[in-house]
Amino acid sequence: MLMLIGVFRRPTKTSVLKELILKEVDDLVIGSIGITAFISLFMGAVVALQTALNLDNPLIPKSLIGFATRQSIILEFAPTFISVIMAGKVGSYITSSIGTMRVTEQIDALEVMGINSLNYLVYPKIIALLFYPFLIAIIMFVGIFGGFMASVYGNLVSLEDFVIGLQDTFIPWHIAYAFIKTMVFGILLATIPSYHGYYMKGGALEVGKAATTSFVWTCVAIIIANYILTQILLTS
């Protein structure tokens, strides 16, 4: 909490901040599209395959494959599972880059110059990760596309049945729920690793340890937040 107060105090020059935010959007969000899309494509395919392979009852329509793919990708896989992967990819990058700056006195150098190092280093990351829902929107699309490819081209279901399943009992609130979760996870992904990097003590070895600790705590926070948000947003 104290860190967050520090982040929003004494802001850095606007022109510098703009540039830093764009750089962080590129590093943290755009730079993650490739790996997350790859994972999503195959996870979508596996979800569709598993659903199809477990459909033994002839009374259950084949369109369920499209329905199950859509629901699992939108509700849990894209926002939560990808956020856990991002805790490893982006979270450890944030912790190790800030931690290395701490170890090599670069943060002290910023402070001595009269720059609020928390604002300079952490604020752009928080703003950049507010663009995280855009990444998740792509992931949702790619995941469902993966399911479509696997089930339709794998002759598990017809194109028509898959599309019927995709459109079946569609609740727009589920998309809003997924993006609200994503926004919260984005803030967790920016702040927890930053905290572990900024306040770390020691040398190069401790940078590695801090990155691991930050990954663990970010995952824990995401999983708990996921439960609380689901309870609040879907059960009320």
């Binding site: 004494r10 020059k13 290395t100 090599t104 006195e105 002290d108 150098a109 001595v112 110059m113 009269g114």
Partner: protein
């Protein structure tokens, strides 16, 4: 000018600084010397405001650092330049960007003006054609000179150097020392240097503060340090083989 009054600082119940009084004069290279663990770096970090003293005061040109609010402290820091022991260059930036960084943050200079100033500084610290190199691509001595360039880019009134020539060969160390002294005299700024390198002390120690166990054990200049009878100082100075031989030669009248 920087005045230090009765400065105390400790960590976890262990007292590191035990009542330091000192004055660092403008236009002079003021050195803080002492063995490892004597409290030099803690002293410097207190002066920079990176640590909060437990007791005492640090006065910058009549203004107490302790009583300053965070905004005023931030303004004061814009008047400071710091050369860190391990350079602390921003490794995501090139040499030129490192030097332009304080200009970008605190002035309204255009990019071409900033580039011009960076080139002027690189020339001043005898570094040319390194503008687009990253800190990891240049030597330790070059990194120190870039860090010095960054420290003086915004024309600071106070220049702090933490062991500016540690890990450098004697020739490069002398170049760094001379640069610091020239800049101090040219710009009439207050320079505070932490060192335990006796060559530096001899070369540029216009005023010297000797720290031992968190207290000032001796004050003087490079002209006086070899004449003092203070046991702590002589132990420190003549711990080097070279200076031991100089003393023997002096005693023998050679």
């Amino acid at each position: 000018m920087i005045e230090i009054k009765n400065l105390h600082k400790g960590f976890n119940g262990e007292k590191i600084l035990k009542g330091i009084d000192a004055t660092f004069e403008k236009g002079k290279t003021n050195m803080i010397i002492g063995a490892s663990g004597s409290g030099k770096s803690v002293f410097l970090k207190n002066m920079l405001g990176l640590f909060e003293p437990d007791k005492g005061d640090i006065i910058y040109s009549g203004e107490s650092l302790i009583e300053m609010n965070i905004d005023r402290k931030s303004e004061l820091r814009k008047e400071m330049g710091m050369l860190f022991q391990h350079s602390a260059l921003f490794d995501s930036m090139t040499v030129e960007e490192n030097i332009m960084f304080p200009l970008r943050m605190f002035t309204r200079m255009k990019l071409t003006e900033r580039r011009e100033r960076a080139n002027e500084i690189l020339n001043r610290v005898n570094l040319i054609n390194l503008n687009h190199k990253r800190p990891s691509e240049i030597s330790g001595g070059q990194q120190k000179r870039v860090a010095l360039g960054r420290a003086i880019a915004n024309n600071p009134n106070y220049l702090f150097c933490d062991e500016p020539n540690s890990g450098l060969d004697p020739k490069t160390a002398t170049v760094i020392d001379q640069l610091i002294q020239e800049i101090t005299h040219e710009r009439d700024i207050t320079t505070v240097i932490i060192s335990h390198d006796m060559n530096s002390v001899m070369e540029i120690g216009e005023t010297i503060v000797f720290l031992k166990d968190g207290m000032i054990a001796w004050k003087g200049s490079n002209k006086e340090i070899f004449k003092t009878d203070n046991e702590a100082v002589t132990d420190f100075v003549y711990s080097s083989d070279l200076f031991k031989k100089v003393r023997v030669a002096q005693n023998q009248g050679l």
